[in-house]
């Protein structure tokens, strides 16, 4: 029986770097190629030696598909293509292809900033990698080769995020990042078809949570910023160059406009323009709210948000500053933090994840005294707030997705084991569900399918009968004869190979005749008659009241109304069809007197 195999090299029962291998219909596909930001050595990348020991990834993999631009999903891509040497096709959506290099550059900067970083990719490598990427359009079926096809659907997690339907023959897999509620009501792009994949691989980051609405979080965020500004404090928001930063800028800009606030908002990174450019370019990929507002005015042409100069940090009075990097471990954001940390009027809002080994991580865990260069310490008096704007789906969203796609099996990745277990329990009430650990392989058997060519004549006949033509999305029954070519084997061997039992096909027919004798006499007369007519055949009069000519069985019964009217029941096998039809016509003529 054919089977689909799924092996996570990362994101199996954890929230590290996503890298999932899928073998389907003889094709090998890598889903995401992420990086773990918590490590500074080789452990940050997936270990590709598990895929193939000779290092020839191109020979083994048919394609790589990237779901979205977050570094835990695409961060190892330049390493894989430019340093390990994978030269095959890489697929991602247009926005992801545009935004990926920005984040990779951003992270490269952080990496170079640290001492002792080796074995890391260069800018040229990022570019060369991106040149190999084939962009995907939504709902467009892309033939990777003659057998493997992929189709992207809107996922809404972040700009350009996609879920992907992968199909080889009749086997299919859907891979999705956490689909958020925008995707569930996104009117611009149709929801994923009820494609009934063999496996639906889904992230399960908030597997146990039913989250409060994003609107509540946004309101909370604005409230905190506003309060700080009102009391004359400064707000620092450490961000990565692209993604959450733009969404927060839109929020603040709109709020400032509404409340007629005058305190300056600054954005420190030089990449804002490019980021905004992409948001404008891919407006159709953004959520409904942004698109709707965009019709009224360009949301990304900020009136209140200005470029930051490092001297502004010392200016008196309130202000809001977005600064990179997002984990407060180097650069501008750290420099500003050091300046503002001592004042309890100020506030730092961490809108995302911080790995261990960064100041962001420390202050989120409540550390109030930070060691600085030269054995000095920094007293953190400013307020520290954490606020997740991540667009991961919660348990409800994931269940909704499952009901939509109706997969035969469900496979959970990118989540903590204990929480996955909870969700798995819920899913298993309706579907098979797996949650492999990293390195473990799940094999799911699928129904074997044999593609066949239909003759043109048969199709034409169907059309003249007014029936719809065959459509993969609307399966229906069609009658015809399947002609098998090339391999001729004995029926016994065929039965053995297919594991089938032999079926006997028998034809039956009733013949009425007038005969005034008893049933047994009539049967004997039939026997005598046939003996005289069919000299070369084996004819037997059996004690159970039947006459047999070869495989043909003849029985006699009387009619209830008329005792002279006899009904002859003839039954013959497929092999004796000619003889059977001959006998039925012979007996219809009556018995000799």
């Amino acid at each position: 029986m054919p089977e689909i195999k799924v092996t996570p090299l990362g994101a199996g029962q954890d929230v590290g770097r996503s890298c999932i291998l899928v073998s389907i219909g003889g094709k090998n596909i890598m889903l995401d190629c992420g990086m773990h930001m918590g490590y500074n050595d080789d452990r940050r990348f997936p270990d590709f030696s598990y895929i193939t020991q000779n290092g020839r990834l191109t020979d083994f993999l048919d394609c790589v598909i990237i779901s979205h631009f977050h570094l835990d999903h695409c961060g190892a891509l330049p390493y894989m293509s430019e340093m390990v040497g994978y030269d095959g096709p890489i697929y991602m959506t247009h926005p992801t292809k545009a935004i990926c290099p920005i984040l990779l550059e951003d992270f490269r900067k952080i990496t170079v900033d640290k001492k002792g970083e080796t074995n890391f990719f260069t800018s040229q490598m990022i570019k060369d990698c991106m040149k190999k990427v084939i962009p995907l359009n939504l709902h467009q079926t892309v033939q990777v080769d003659d057998e493997l096809e992929i189709k992207a659907y809107y996922a809404g997690h972040v700009l350009g995020a996609a879920m992907v339907h992968i199909k080889v023959g009749s086997e299919s897999v859907v891979y999705t990042v956490s689909v958020n509620k925008f995707a569930l009501c996104h009117s611009g792009a149709a929801w994923i078809d009820k494609c009934r994949p063999d496996i639906l691989i889904s992230e399960s980051t908030y597997a146990t949570t039913i989250r409060d609405s994003k609107r509540c979080r946004e309101r909370d965020f604005l409230k905190k910023v506003h309060e700080t500004i009102e009391r004359g404090g400064k707000v620092l928001i450490p961000v990565f160059a692209l993604g959450r930063a733009q969404e927060l800028c839109i929020l603040l800009e709109t709020f400032w406009e509404r409340m007629n606030l005058k305190a300056p908002i600054y954005f420190s990174t030089g990449l804002t323009e490019k980021a905004n450019h992409y948001y404008k370019l891919f407006i159709t990929w953004t959520n409904q709210k942004i698109r709707k507002t965009f019709v009224q005015r360009n949301m990304f042409e900020f009136k209140h948000i200005k470029a930051f100069d490092r001297s502004y940090a010392d200016n008196p009075g309130p202000m809001v500053v977005f600064a990179t990097p997002g984990m407060l471990h180097a650069g501008q954001s750290l420099q500003i933090f050091k300046k503002w940390a001592g004042n309890d009027k100020n506030m730092v809002i961490m809108p995302g994840y911080c790995v261990q080994g960064t100041i962001g991580h420390k202050i989120l865990n409540g550390q109030r005294k930070l060691e600085m260069e030269g054995r000095s310490t920094l007293d953190v008096k400013l307020q520290v707030e954490y606020m997740s704007f991540s667009a991961h789906a919660d348990a409800k969203g994931i269940m909704q997705l499952i009901r939509m796609a109706e997969p035969r099996n469900m496979l959970l990745v990118h989540g903590e084991a204990a929480k996955m277990e909870f969700l798995k329990g819920k899913i298993e009430q309706e579907f098979n569900c797996y949650m492999p650990a990293n390195g473990e392989t799940v094999a799911v058997t699928t129904n074997p399918s044999v593609p066949v060519d239909i003759s043109l004549n048969l199709l034409k006949r169907e059309m003249t009968l007014g029936g719809p033509l065959p459509d993969p999305k609307k399966p229906r029954t069609m009658h015809g004869t399947l002609i098998m070519k090339e391999n001729l084997v004995s029926s016994e061997q065929a039965l053995k190979e297919l594991g089938l039992n032999e079926h006997q096909l028998r034809f039956t027919c009733r013949v009425q005749l007038q005969d005034p004798h008893s049933d047994s006499d009539t049967l004997h007369r039939i026997y005598t008659h046939l003996k005289s007519v069919l000299k070369d055949y084996t004819i037997q009069h059996l004690p159970d009241g039947t006459v047999m000519v070869e495989s043909i069985v003849i029985k006699v019964s009387s009619s209830a109304e008329d005792a002279n009217a006899k009904v002859l029941l003839l039954s013959w096998s497929y092999q004796d069809e000619d003889l059977g039809s001959y006998l039925s016509s012979l007996l219809k003529k009556g018995l000799p007197t």
Binding site: D14, Y39, D145, S311
Partner: protein, 864 residues
């Protein structure tokens, strides 16, 4: 080791024991192990350094209520402690060792099912197996059984680690005398009786491994396939790692099974089986019996009935560089067969032994799966070209011809036909996978002897690809690479006629306007790379630059590149700037006078620096000036360059992109080096006489003063001072290094009177503030005002300018050495240290609240 770390480690262990789930993040335990490993590697006894660890390990082992990640960590830690003989002894004495490495213990607790625990067990075991005591323990506890079971574990990670560990066990068994026992003679005597016993146990281990391999190698049913693959992987690893006589023992134990396995001709096992045979074959003498049997096995595999498997076998044989010439020659013939069949180019002689394979491959090539077969053929051409010419089935020139014909057949716009297998054409036409493989092969074949005569053909085919609208961007990139490669290898381009050149120029022009940025970028990059190719002979029998021969030189490339400066894609703009620098470098080196076009380029590049919204282009622009300054033998005589440098420096150092700033400082370094080694003008824009071109003599204050003034005027000092307070560490480091260099040149020579005459104006108020702050931190004196008032007295500084600093004083007062020592360290050296990690573990534990109530939990799971 930091005593502070040691002092808080017991508390950390306590936290790990009670609340393993509230760790800072998923990397914490790994990082903790890294720290312990570092301690162990320095030669310090881990137990002496951290005595609380034994207690921790014992508590976890005896009370296995901890989470799987803590258990796994503890197993690894036990291995690390037990890797030293004294640690091993302590663990043994407190009965931890037996318990921790007893799989039964974990199975009874229902924890063995967790792959996380199994991986901990394996890795711990692997770490401990460093000395004979550990091996003896391994043998006595009969751990070989569970270890063998894990060879086919459902987890790839566990199985792979089990493979490695078994190899290590065998290596230890191989020479028990060579490991451990670094004690005295008496100690050896004491161990003597035990040694005899353990030797016997080791042979038991080897027998068990041999039996296991022999039994497991044979594939009894298809469901065992993954296990069989795993066992073959293990066998290949063992045959590579262990030496004779153990290697021979293992080989003899499995060779019958291998022969049996070969006859099953299971496609999924072809590659791992070949790996085993080739690994076994590589270390054997030609005259030994197994060698003959292995060679026979290889022949069997090369004569299987499945063409795909035969191709894979041939490829593996060639890659292994094994010594049998007949095998290599046959493998090359097998690999070239698809190319021969598809193109109809007779690469192989009529050979009846291959006739059957030819028929089978021909049939295969008529199916969709032909693509992978052709790609295997093409990707192994580099191996074929490495073979001795007498082993080659045909001259390399013929292979080039066949590859070129294949490329033509693959090209959508080509009308070529082949005398070979027609059915395959519909599958390969337009297939970028085959096209890329063929172009890769063509790249390698450029080195083949006697290929000059096909150069025109190569050129025509590559032009066809560049012209084709359906060429994939990555195919175009490879086509350009092939052009460069062939041009580099063939110095005689006299065969390139005007007609060919015209066609090529048109193709390049077309691609420069391609709608796909990837194609435009590759085109622009190609123009730059072509300049670097060595001179060649042209059609006119003159020595010329390849770009002149192929493209007609700068008159074609420069306008094209100038146009690309306006490209909407920043990558292309950056590439065009780099290509312009490469193109113009020869003229800069020659000192040729600047053309109007070049002057326009400089204006455009300054605009890029000021206005381009993206860093790539701005970085390239600064690098253009670096290339120009480096290539110019006398930059001071090039007025436009000297006029541009101050602008580039002031703009570049204030850029938002860290690499632009860094490159700007590289330019500053060039200017600085030149200022103190070369004749320098009194003013950057002044016309200089020969008399002015004199080297500043060390010790002559006036010359140094003049050079320093020039540096200030050009904006070098201001750029360095701006850079040294930058928030990006690499920028600040570079600036600091350059300031130290400047201090080293200037300060020892200048006396106090002289230095005050050189002032530097700082660009931004913030820079000024920061420089002042550093000064104040370093010294109590306010150098700026003093310097200015001193200068004022001399009439140099008209008023006290708050943005003006005395260069020499600043260099002296800024604590550059201290700053350098800080900047040389990693920017995260404090927060990514063991102490920081330990503190984070403690803080996380203190901050953790019951599950579901801590909003931070969301953050921990959040994406980057």
């Amino acid at each position: 080791m930091d005593s502070q770390c040691v002092s808080i480690l017991p508390r950390v262990c306590g936290v790990l024991l009670v609340s393993g789930s509230s760790l800072p993040d998923d990397t914490s335990l790994e990082k903790l192990l890294d720290w312990f490993t570092t301690i162990a590697q320095t030669g310090t006894s881990l137990l002496e350094a951290c005595p609380c660890l034994v207690d921790f390990v014992s508590k976890v082992a005896f009370n296995y209520t901890s989470g799987s990640s803590i258990l796994s960590f503890t197993l690894k830690l036990t291995g690390l402690i037990g890797a030293s003989e004294d640690g091993f002894k302590v663990l043994k004495e407190c009965s931890v060792l037996k318990l921790v490495f007893n799989p039964q213990h974990w199975q009874e607790a229902g924890l063995w099912e967790d792959p996380c625990l199994r991986i901990g067990w394996i890795q711990g075991l692997k770490m401990i197996l460093k000395h004979s005591e550990a091996l003896s323990f391994f043998a006595q506890a009969d751990l070989i059984e569970p270890l063998l079971q894990l060879q086919t574990d459902s987890s790839l990670f566990v199985a792979s680690a089990a493979n490695q560990t078994l190899a290590q066990v065998l290596l230890l068994c191989q020479s028990p005398s060579s490991v451990g026992h670094n004690g005295s003679k008496n100690r050896d005597l004491e161990h003597n009786s035990a040694s005899m016993e353990t030797t016997q146990n080791y042979s038991g281990i080897i027998t068990k491994v041999s039996d296991y391999l022999n039994k497991s190698v044979v594939l009894k049913e298809i469901s065992q396939l993954p296990g069989s693959q795993q066992i073959l992987r293990l066998l290949a690893l063992l045959l590579v790692r262990v030496g004779p006589p153990l290697r021979d023992t293992l080989l003899l134990a499995v060779i019958n099974s291998l022969e049996e396995l070969v006859t099953t001709s299971c496609s999924q096992l072809t590659v791992p089986l070949l790996d085993v045979i080739l690994a076994a074959n590589s270390g054997l003498r030609d005259d030994c019996v197994p060698k003959q049997r292995l060679i026979r096995l290889l022949w069997v595999m090369l004569n299987m009935k499945k063409p795909v498997d035969v191709m894979q076998a041939a490829a593996a044989v060639l890659r292994s560089h094994q010594s049998d010439p007949a095998l290599s020659a046959h493998s090359a013939r097998v690999l070239l067969l698809p190319l021969d069949i598809v193109t109809g180019v007779s690469l192989l002689d009529e050979n009846s032994t291959e006739e059957e394979l030819r028929i089978l491959i021909t049939e295969q090539l008529k199916r969709k799966s032909c693509i992978s077969m052709i790609c295997v053929c093409l990707s192994n051409i580099p191996q074929i070209t490495l073979m001795a010419s007498d082993c080659l089935p045909c001259p390399q020139r013929l292979i080039v011809t066949a590859v070129l014909l294949l490329l033509r057949l693959c090209c959508v716009d080509s009308s070529s036909s082949s005398a070979g297998c027609v059915e395959v054409v519909r599958f390969i036409t337009g297939n970028s996978k085959v096209q890329k493989c063929a172009l890769e092969a063509l790249l390698v074949l450029s080195k083949s002897p006697g290929v000059k005569m096909v150069l025109v053909e190569v050129f025509k085919v590559l032009t066809e690809y560049l012209n084709s609208h359906s060429s994939d961007p990555s195919v175009l990139q490879k086509s350009y690479q092939a052009v460069i490669k062939w041009v580099r290898v063939c110095p005689d381009l006299s065969c390139i006629t005007d007609q060919l050149r015209e066609g090529f120029i048109q193709a390049v022009r077309k691609r420069a306007c391609d709608t796909r940025w990837e194609a435009r970028d590759s085109t622009v990059e190609f123009l730059g790379h072509l300049v670097g190719a060595p001179s060649c002979w042209a059609f006119t029998e003159q020595e010329m630059e390849p770009s002149d021969v192929l493209l007609g030189g700068c008159s074609f490339t420069v306008p094209l590149l100038k146009e690309a400066l306006q490209d909407p894609e920043s990558y292309v703009r950056a590439s065009s700037i780099s290509a312009l620098a490469q193109t113009l470098t020869p003229s800069w080196q020659d000192g040729t006078a600047l053309t109007q076009e070049q002057e326009d380029i400089v204006t455009q590049l300054q605009e890029v620096l000021f206005q381009d919204s993206e860093g790539f282009a701005r970085r390239a622009a600064v690098k253009y000036f670096i290339a120009w300054f480096s290539a110019c033998s006398s930059p001071s005589s090039c007025w436009l360059l000297m006029q541009s440098v101050p602008t580039v420096l002031s703009q570049g150092v204030a850029d938002l992109d860290w690499e632009v700033k860094l490159h700007t400082l590289e330019l500053a370094e060039l200017v600085l080096d030149r200022a103190f080694s070369d004749p320098s003008p009194s003013h950057p824009y002044a016309v200089m006489s020969d008399q002015d071109h004199r080297l500043p003599i060390a010790g002559q204050q006036s010359d140094l003063l003049s050079s320093l003034k020039n540096l200030v005027d050009w904006g070098v000092v201001s750029a360095l001072l701006c850079g040294v307070v930058d928030c990006d560490r690499p920028v600040a480091l570079k600036a600091c290094q350059l300031l130290l260099k400047l201090r080293g040149i200037v300060c020892p020579v200048m006396d106090n009177t002289a230095d005050t005459r050189v002032f530097c104006q700082l660009a931004g108020a913030s820079v000024m503030q920061q420089v002042r702050k550093i000064q104040e931190m370093g010294k109590d004196t306010c150098v700026v005002s003093e310097a200015c008032s001193e200068a004022d007295k001399e009439g140099i500084c008209a008023s006290v300018d708050p943005e003006c600093v005395s260069v020499c004083e600043v260099l002296r007062v800024l604590d550059l050495d201290e700053k350098l020592s800080i900047l040389t360290q990693s920017s995260d050296h404090i927060y990514n240290s063991p102490l920081s990690l330990l503190q984070d573990i403690l803080t996380a534990a203190a901050a953790s609240s019951p599950p579901g109530q801590d909003p931070r939990q969301e953050l921990v799971m959040d994406c980057y």
